[in-house]
């Protein structure tokens, strides 16, 4: 009897199905399109406004570097009368932006490299190995995020001076590393936890030491996370102004970083500041960061671990 009933329904199915089959896609399409429609439009509008808010000032800065002082303080929406590179030349030569940019590239390269090396190693161990005090170390790192840099500025100055590292790039690099580690460790330890443990175990079975497992297996697998946090650190350290002001405060203009150089253009000449030169300098400061961002952005691919495990 049971077999009979199933038999009849399955036989009847092909007859009954066609009519609902034509109706179903319509209903499904409407249902799936509606949320995308409403929220899609809203989010696109919001994103467009956001993009204008970001791109507008950057483009304006760039254009302002070709304007004269009068043009800059005139109507904000006019284009420059002529496009000459005078202001860029002045900024590069007279205001030593070239020198400062080199300094900054050196400092940021060293400090980012140091941050990534130390941060990823610390994060890996904290994420993967159980040992007494693991949590304590982790929270110590993370608590660094809650500590505003202004609060520590004066003691920091004295600590760095006592170490004899004041007015040196090494001092700035070390402070940058310390300053960037909390978020790096926080972010990367969460990231390492998402990676499959079995791959590390397979490496151990294959004969890897813990160190080799980390550098040859886990680091390549963590590439998307490492790149995201590298960009974050480069941006943060490149734009740092307060720390270099404090740490390079002596009579060491040749060691200044780019933010100090840009600020100096606007303050050095009193009321007769070289505004086009300053915007040229600003543009110079923006371009390398943009390049870094665009280059690395392409490297962030989700699914780098795909194929490792089922």
């Amino acid at each position: 009897m049971a077999a009979n009933t199933t038999g009849t329904t399955s036989a009847a199915d092909p007859v009954h199905k066609p009519s609902p089959r034509t109706a179903v896609p319509h209903a499904r399409r409407k249902r799936s399109r509606n949320p995308i429609g409403v929220f899609g439009t809203l989010s696109h509008v919001a994103l467009a406004i956001w993009a204008i808010l970001i791109i507008g000032p950057i483009v304006w800065t760039f254009l302002a570097s070709f304007k004269t002082n009068t043009e800059i303080f005139g109507d904000a929406l006019t284009l420059p009368a002529s496009y000459g590179w005078d202001a860029w030349g002045r900024a590069w030569e007279k205001a030593h932006i070239g020198q400062y940019m080199l300094n900054t590239v050196f400092v940021v390269a060293c400090s980012t490299a140091g941050t990534m090396l130390l941060g990823s190693m610390a994060a890996y161990v904290l994420a993967r190995y159980k040992f007494p005090g693991n949590r304590a170390v982790y929270y110590l790192f993370v608590s660094g995020m809650t500590f505003p840099v202004f609060l520590a500025l004066v003691p920091l100055f004295f600590v760095v001076r006592n170490l004899g590292l004041i007015d040196t790039h090494l001092g700035v690099i070390l402070v940058y590393i310390a300053y960037s580690l909390p978020f790096t460790v926080f972010f990367l330890s969460a990231f390492f936890k998402t990676l499959p443990t079995s791959v590390a175990e397979a490496a151990m079975m294959d004969g890897c030491s813990h160190t080799r497992t980390f550098f040859q297996i886990m680091m390549p697998m963590a590439k998307p996370g490492l790149i995201s946090i590298t960009i974050f650190n480069i941006l943060g350290q490149w734009n740092q102004y307060l720390l270099p002001i404090v740490l390079l405060s002596g009579n060491v203009e040749d060691k200044w970083l780019i933010t100090q150089g840009v600020a100096n253009i606007s303050t050095s000449a009193g009321y007769e500041a070289d505004w086009p030169g300053m915007f040229a300098a600003l543009s110079m400061a923006i371009i390398p960061v943009m390049v870094v961002y665009i280059v690395f952005q392409r490297q962030i691919q989700s699914g780098l671990t795909s194929g490792a495990v089922k």
Partner: protein
């Protein structure tokens, strides 16, 4: 190649959970040993302790007569195949295979020779330059296998390596595993929860439950002579039918009575199972394998001397060559802890049928010539030479050599 010996090995996790409890096991040189059991029985933990990925809480593990308790995995000269393959995603297949050899500072020529051999054996030659992401599940699985083979280790450890493959691929990989073991003859420890894999692959099978060893034997012996209710219920698909029964001796000799039926027990059974005669007049748990039933029509007179059992088929599962007939018998289901534990794990479709009152659902596997339909009354014949008797208190098989503790 080497033997692997576990001497009363314990694993106690933080919090006091005993995952493996006094495990004694000798895996002979070149043997294919399967560890099988329901999830959480400690089989994977045992394997990981052999591998060196888990600390050993007690006892000792020897690989090739060398105690390896405190050796890191890389110094144990063993290779492992993981359930989820665990390939290195940023390396090509070739680099994946060669990685372990490079770490051992093997000369380049030897590495490429071994990688080439393994690739040929596993049919991976055209994929050597690909990354794992560009491979199918079966290919990834073979790369994982190849990574173990190229090492030419003392032993292979495999942790449910086929469980992520689809059914068809699993069968063909099972066959290639068998041939691979024939060819290489490397000691292999294989963990699975699938008793079909256990039966088909293992030279010997070790059944674990809650960290305790239940029985180690050849697959056929496990099937024919299970040591207790748990092993009896766990091995075999569909699983063994159980019922509380009474052993009686009447005019026509001994018989076992349950649910209104009375099956004669041949004298040979008493001879095979010493101690069974002491249970006459007492309660036992009777076990009958589904394959020991046959439809009296399909049996066609081959079942001379078999006992007839009239039943009503509730559900039939046609498998092509055989039909599983599910029928109710008028006796409450056996609620022994061992049968419950074994049934929890099996893919028992019978549990989905609501049981009415005090009836238990039995399965008979009959020849497809029987053409039985659900709702039909049929007459089953039972091979009374293969009845299994268990002590209702201890759950141990009566008269089993390993059960007489």
């Amino acid at each position: 190649m080497a033997s692997i010996v576990l001497n009363s090995v314990d694993k106690i996790y933080a919090g006091g959970v005993k995952a493996v409890n006094g495990l004694n096991l000798e895996i002979r040189d070149g043997e294919f040993m399967v560890l099988v059991g329901p999830s959480g029985c400690g089989k994977s933990t045992a394997l990981r302790m052999i591998a060196g990925l888990e600390d050993i809480s007690g006892g000792e593990i020897l690989i090739g007569e060398k105690v390896v308790n405190h050796l890191p995995p890389k110094d144990r000269d063993i290779a492992m195949v993981f359930q989820n393959y665990a390939l290195y995603p940023h390396m090509t297949v070739e680099e994946n295979l060669a990685f372990g050899l490079k770490l051992r500072k093997m000369p380049k020529a030897e590495i490429s020779k071994r990688v080439g051999e393994a690739a040929r054996m596993l049919g991976l030659e055209q994929y050597l330059k690909r990354k794992p992401a560009a491979l199918s599940g079966g290919q990834r699985q073979r790369v994982a296998m190849g990574r173990a083979i190229v090492r030419e280790p003392q032993a292979f450890l495999m942790d449910e390596p086929l469980s992520n493959l689809d059914a068809k691929l699993r069968v063909s990989m099972r066959a290639s595993l068998n041939t691979m073991h024939e060819r290489l003859g490397v000691t292999t420890v294989y963990v699975t929860h699938d008793q079909v894999e256990a039966m088909t692959l293992g030279d010997r099978v070790c059944v674990l439950r809650d960290g305790l060893l239940q029985q180690v034997d050849t697959p056929q012996n496990l099937f024919d002579n299970p040591v207790n209710l748990f092993v009896a219920g766990f091995m075999g698909s569909p699983s063994m039918n159980f019922v509380n029964a009474e052993l009686v001796r009447g005019d026509g000799g001994a018989a076992v009575a349950f649910a209104g039926y009375k099956l004669p027990v041949p004298d040979a059974t008493f001879a095979e199972k010493p101690g069974l005669d002491q249970f006459i007049g007492r309660q036992v748990i009777l076990g009958i394998r589904p394959s020991d039933f046959e439809d009296s029509v399909a049996a066609n007179g081959h079942a001379g001397g078999w006992v007839r059992l009239p039943v009503r088929a509730e559900v039939t599962e046609e498998l092509g060559s055989e039909i599983n007939v599910l029928f109710l018998i008028d006796a409450p289901p056996v609620q022994h802890q061992d049968t419950v534990a074994a049934a929890d794990t099996g893919d028992d479709e019978d549990a989905t049928l609501p049981l009415v009152g005090d009836k238990s659902l039995w399965t008979a596997r009959v020849n497809s010539r029987s053409h039985v339909r659900p709702g039909q009354n049929i007459e089953l014949v039972v091979d009374t030479h293969n009845l299994h008797f268990f002590d209702p208190t201890s759950g141990l098989s009566i008269g089993h050599a390993g059960a007489r503790v």
